[in-house]
Subunit: 123 residues, 2 copies
């Protein structure tokens, strides 16, 4: 599932765009640049086209025994040097975090965002 | 490939979020609310997490003989009533439009955006 990092031998910046069907498998690194998981898929606000959550796969090996967690997009920061996203989220925080069902309403989203100390992104 | 439209029998608004791996197949309608194609995948700016292009499948039947076109996201507008996106793009415009290769640089993007009378979205 893990994609090859987006590297080039030239000094040209990495390509700034990525196809949604290639995001799956993009790696996520912790503060120590250790890989802690991969992005499973993104959650997009239909009307605005903003990515608002990443559903991340943590733990397990090659997808076996992995758990999926919905994380606010703001907690991930793309690092072209790493070829992936880094985050300051810890495993402990993640285990306690509320989850977001497929048909979550705004109230469930608010609970999730409060947990992560983030305001709601909608008007 | 076409997803069921996101409809409910209640008056509750459709769910505002969609998973990136479910966007594939979302229908696109023209000014007359006639289905003209489906979304094949999205193109996302890695750093900001903004959807900047939709790669649309036009023509063909069930994906056979269909052509893929990269369209600026601004040309699509989500319509909860239709359960898909509507656009004022015509087939003729699309046939003449420049395409965007996988490794497109900003210059190629500018050509594409000029064609569609849109400014560049990056700083």
């Amino acid at each position: 599932m893990t994609q090859a990092p987006d590297v080039t031998l030239s000094r040209a910046p990495s390509h700034p765009l990525i196809e949604s069907n290639r995001v799956e498998g993009t790696r996520v690194f912790d503060r120590d640049a250790k890989q802690i998981g991969t992005i499973h898929h993104l959650v997009i606000e239909k009307v605005t086209g903003r990515v608002v959550y990443a559903v991340m796969s943590f733990g397990g090996f090659l997808g076996l025994g992995a758990h999926l967690y919905t994380v606010p997009w703001e907690k991930l920061h793309f690092d072209p040097g790493l070829g992936g996203y880094h985050t300051d989220i810890t495993e402990g925080e993640l285990e306690e975090a509320p989850q977001l069902p497929h048909d979550a309403d705004r109230q469930r989203e608010e609970e999730l965002r409060r947990y992560w100390n983030l305001p709601s992104y909608w008007a």
